[in-house]
């Protein structure tokens, strides 16, 4: 009898010990779950900014050099010579603005009015229009990219304004845009006066969103990070209208026949190429290239190639020099 009791006790002890041995492999699961919980990127928002200060002739820029250097022979010590040594120009552009600067998914190339202007500039430096590397920027990255030197120049629908001129230098105007509205063809909205209580899309960091806040304060602003996000919002019925430069709106209209540009321009938006303040020689050189394009017909040719379908080719914007 005692033996049985002893056996039972031994059995219980063995059972308990064996049970304790069951290897717990929770660490593998914990590691897997922790890895999966790596925080996802958060979208960051930025403010619409304060009203524009005033500053004389906003579009006035440095005059071109007395004699333009010939392609491939940039003056020693100049910023252009540094670019030439590097072998390519780095330009900040948008890649979603149809007609101006966009990535054509069919041939995998960046194309548009601004791209062609930049290629003319590249040709003036290297003699080869293809010695250029494009860097895609969002609207609110344009000025910082110039300031931190990650790009040599930005041609990305940057409106010349007094506040931006405190941060970067601008070339002379290469395109005169005006802020307008894009609405669905069925929309009752005709002018900015109809925007009260309406949802209106504009790009974060653009002059358009600042102007909208001033000119139609009762409109509900719908800020997006990239220009084409506005067209998505309009097509998905999330907004009633888009406000932007007519140049950009023209590209939207070309992508959606059920939209129309309405009203007259309610803000003048002269586009200049942004260059860091430490390179006045480069500003002069770019202005020289632009001056040449104004007179030799290159500007007109580029305009009519991209925008001729939508409007008669105007005279190139006049250059104002300091």
């Amino acid at each position: 009898m005692r033996r049985i009791v002893g056996y039972v006790l031994a059995m219980a002890v063995v059972a308990a010990v064996l049970a304790g041995c069951g290897s717990s492999s929770d660490p593998a699961q914990r590691l897997a779950l922790a890895a999966l919980n790596t925080p996802a990127p958060q979208a960051h928002t930025s403010a619409t900014g304060s009203p524009e200060p005033r500053c004389g002739d906003v579009t006035a820029s440095l005059p071109p050099p007395a004699a333009m250097p010939s392609p491939g022979a940039m003056p020693a010590g100049s910023f252009m010579a540094r670019i030439q040594r590097r072998g390519y120009l780095i330009a900040g552009v948008d890649q979603n603005t149809l007609l101006f600067a966009y990535f054509n998914p069919i041939d995998g190339q960046l194309e548009g009015f601004e791209i062609d202007i930049l290629r003319q500039l590249t040709k003036a430096i290297f003699g080869n229009p293809n010695a250029i590397v494009f860097k895609a920027l969002t609207t609110d990255e344009r000025i910082p990219a110039v300031e931190n030197g990650s790009v040599d120049i930005v041609a990305d629908a940057v409106t010349i304004t007094c506040s931006r001129r405190k941060e970067v230098d601008f070339s002379t105007v290469y395109y005169d845009a005006g802020q307008k509205l894009l609405v669905p063809t069925s929309s009752p909205i005709q002018t900015v006066d109809n925007l009260a209580g309406r949802r209106v899309c504009a790009t974060i960091g653009s002059t358009s969103i600042q102007t909208l806040a001033q000119i139609a304060p009762r409109a509900i602003r719908y800020p997006v990070r990239q220009r084409t996000d506005c067209l998505v919002a309009l097509q998905e019925g999330l907004v009633d209208a888009i406000t932007s430069d007519d140049s950009i709106l023209l590209g939207f209209k070309a992508q959606d026949p059920y939209t129309q540009i309405v009203g007259s321009s309610f803000a003048h938006e002269p586009y200049g190429m942004a260059i860091d303040k430490t390179h006045p020689d480069f500003v002069r050189f770019v202005n020289g290239v632009l001056a040449q394009m104004r007179t030799d017909g290159a500007w007109r040719a580029i305009y009519s190639h991209w925008l001729g379908k939508f409007s008669r080719t105007p005279a190139p914007p006049t250059a104002h020099y300091l």
């Binding site: 039972v8 492999s25 890649q95 979603n96 998914p105 041939d107 969002t138 990239q226």
Partner: protein, 423 residues
């Protein structure tokens, strides 16, 4: 002497009018030997029934947990992982397709469609199996609602891309935002909930509680039988009571069977976990994170001019994956346990290739496909190890109650033999 005593106490039965019936009955049982024997019989039967109930319950809780691991929670976890990684892969494929430029390569389009199909199947299976009240259910509802919206955005992006419209890229971004911001977090929630359930089942299935309870109950039952036999031997002056001895033997037999069965299943389940499902979990997490890295990488280039957050996230995800402390390292550790080191080494090599050239779709897809193959292999190891557990437990849940009844019956027969001697 015993019989005299019993005869002398018999007239007491007439005192029924003065005290309650039950007390009287008890007093009569306690004070006479046949009475005591009857009481002991009742105790033995009650003890046997209690043993049967508790032992069956312990065995049942253990085998139910094991059964749940085998046929429910582990397969569901695999489904949740499939849903998660198929969605991630669909997104990575959609963006990569856009980046290739020109007409989309049919292979990538097929891959995207297969990913969506796989995600839909898993979604349906999960919705069917997951309880209606759980948090996972709400997450599944959200995924079910948003998945068609996602694929709609992708198709709109495609239609626009085909015309060379840059708004296509915006739709692609929008789709990515919906997937990364809404759908994948829900898929993650489902996966985490299922992982927790599996972990709980493993804890119940391999924990000590059932075994300890069983051991205690066996000890108590054997003790009761032993004491009964000692008592009977004492009152009857006969050492050997064959039916009682048989009852003891049967009890010991069923106890050994139960303990061996439970231990066998416990080790089978532990093996299923260490050989199979641990690897499944780590490999699945790797595949999910790989899709995310791929998606980040592509989306940065789609450009979108763009969200500086994506390269940051890409670096973070690569960090989570990289050996030695990352997931790829853990796969190597698990592989040493499961004896699949060559496969793990191959994977590590492919990952290194992906790290150095993340933009080549064939490298990323090759890595992803290799992961899928390894998940299938690990799932196979899980299944065969878990199946070993079933055989060791089969019949036990029926045998315990039946054999317990036999023990009780034998003990009763043995007691009755002694009781008969007083008639």
């Amino acid at each position: 002497m015993e019989s005299q005593q019993s005869v002398a106490t018999l007239p007491r039965a007439g005192t029924r009018t003065r005290s309650p019936w039950t007390l009287d009955w008890l007093r009569q049982r306690v004070t006479t030997t046949p009475g005591r024997l009857t009481l002991v019989s009742v105790l033995v039967v009650a003890g046997a029934v209690l043993f049967g109930v508790i032992a069956t319950t312990a065995e049942r809780s253990r085998s139910q947990a094991a059964q749940a691991v085998r046929s429910q929670t582990e397969p569901l976890l695999v489904q949740a992982a499939t849903l998660y990684s198929a969605l991630g892969d669909a997104e990575a494929t959609a963006t990569t397709t856009f980046l290739t430029g020109g007409l989309e390569p049919p292979a990538l389009r097929t891959r995207y469609r297969q990913d969506l199909l796989l995600a839909s199947y898993s979604l349906a299976a999960l919705t069917r199996e997951v309880g209606g009240s759980s948090a996972a259910h709400a997450a599944l509802v959200t995924i079910t609602e948003q998945l068609p919206v996602y694929s709609g955005l992708i198709e709109t992006a495609r239609a626009n891309n085909r015309q060379g419209f840059p708004v296509g890229a915006a739709y692609l971004r929008q789709a990515a935002g919906l997937l990364n911001g809404t759908i994948l977090p829900q898929a993650d929630l489902v996966y985490s909930a299922e992982a927790k359930r599996l972990s709980d089942n493993y804890a119940t299935g391999t924990g000590d509680a059932a075994l300890v309870v069983l051991a205690l109950v066996i000890a108590a039952a054997l003790g009761l039988l032993a004491l009964t036999q000692l008592y009977v031997a004492h009152v009857s002056r006969r050492i050997l009571n064959v039916p009682m001895l048989l009852a003891t033997v049967v009890l010991i037999g069923v106890s050994i069977w139960a303990i061996v069965g439970l231990l066998g299943e416990q080790s089978a389940l532990s093996r299923a976990r260490s050989q199979g499902s641990d690897s499944v979990e780590v490999l699945s997490a790797t595949r999910v994170m790989l899709s995310r890295a791929q998606g980040d990488e592509s989306l940065t280039r789609v450009g979108r001019g763009s969200d500086e957050t994506d390269p940051v996230d890409f670096a973070r995800v690569i960090n989570v994956l990289s050996p030695p402390s990352g997931l790829i390292g853990e796969i190597g550790v698990l592989a040493r346990r499961t004896g699949t080191t060559s496969a793990a080494d191959r994977l590590a090599t492919k990952f290194a290739a992906f790290r150095s050239s993340p933009t080549t779709p064939s490298v990323a897809n090759g890595l992803s496909d290799d992961l899928t193959r390894q998940i299938i292999a690990a799932q196979g190891r899980f299944k065969s190890a878990a199946a070993d557990g079933t055989s060791s437990l089969s019949g036990l849940s029926v045998a315990i109650p039946l054999l317990t009844l036999l023990v009780a019956g034998l003990a009763l027969i043995g007691l009755r033999q002694r009781l008969e001697e007083y008639r």
